[in-house]
């Protein structure tokens, strides 16, 4: 007679499937461009399907966190035929350095592209040094 601790291979497989089914999906790491000029650093991230309401941008302990979830308008009874994109959430983080003014971050989201500008502290911006002709 089977005791409770014994699990048939079939049941184990089923429970593994169940665990996988309920697992949190792995977020997509959005493609980014990062550039720096005298004023600060600008990050552009591809986050298609994310609207302003579904975007979460924050700084936690000097880490810039980009998060969002995409919404696809799928008909109710739709089945997948093919999928390059297998997750509906995005997440990417960047460590910031001290010369950046994290409380003055500006962000813009348009057509699924997030642009984040992080200014540098004024006193740390490069100054052009003029060389006077003798």
């Amino acid at each position: 007679m089977a005791t409770r601790s014994e699990i048939s291979p079939k049941a184990a497989a089923a429970s593994a499937r169940e665990r996988r089914g309920t697992a949190v999906e792995t977020p997509i790491r959005p493609a980014v461009d990062i550039r720096e000029d005298g004023e600060g650093i600008t990050v552009c991230a591809d986050m298609p399907g994310v609207s302003k309401e579904r975007l979460e941008l924050r700084v936690e302990a000097n880490t810039l966190i980009l998060e969002g979830s995409a919404r696809l308008e799928l008909p109710e009874n739709a089945e997948a035929l093919y999928a390059d994109v297998r997750s509906s959430t995005y997440r990417r983080t960047f460590a910031l350095s001290g010369e950046l003014e994290t409380d003055k971050i500006e962000a813009n989201l348009k057509d699924g592209v997030l642009t984040v500008h992080i200014p540098k502290r004024r006193e740390l911006r490069p100054r052009k040094i003029d060389v006077r002709a003798a």
């Binding site: 593994a16 493609a31 298609p48 739709a78 999928a83 390059d84 509906s88 699924g112």
Partner: protein, 148 residues
């Protein structure tokens, strides 16, 4: 979207391979990313998802930052072609640390199921996703046959 569960125990490569196998088995060669003759390598821009119902096929192109006016969408029988461009200007004075985002022209040809009606197509663009819906022909839909 179409999440497929993942198990943390597998290595990422194993996981990817397994997913690929599943996709190939489930959807057949015509739609298979690895097997379709017109398929593009993984990571090509724009990424594509396709869903279907008995009434229509819905195609989603993940094309952020693309001006919808520059998109050229055409359908010939069951072959859908989407072409366009995304130009990302480079700031000459800036230092770039990462340039991962696609810039330039793109074209994707997608083989849809044979029963789509090329005369009944609609497309829209929102939040960087192009959604194209193609109706299927009546005859191909499953019909309930009543027994009298």
């Amino acid at each position: 979207m179409f999440p497929i569960g993942s198990s943390a125990a597998d290595s990422p490569f194993e996981e990817l391979w397994r997913l690929q196998q599943q996709v190939d088995e489930l959807f057949g060669a015509w739609a298979s990313p690895s097997g379709g003759i017109r398929s593009l390598p993984q990571g090509s821009f724009p990424a594509v998802n396709i869903g279907h119902t008995p009434e229509r096929v819905e195609i989603y192109l993940f094309a952020p930052g693309v001006d919808p006016k520059t998109l050229d969408i055409s359908i010939q029988q069951n072959l859908l072609t989407v072409a366009g461009r995304r130009d990302i200007p480079t700031d000459e004075r800036a230092t770039y640390y990462r340039q991962e985002r696609f810039s330039g022209e793109f074209r994707r040809v997608i083989a849809l199921p044979e029963d789509v009606d090329p005369d009944r197509v609609h497309a829209r663009y929102q939040d960087g996703i192009v959604q194209i819906g193609v109706e299927r022909r009546e005859a191909a839909r499953p019909r309930q046959i009543e027994v009298h």
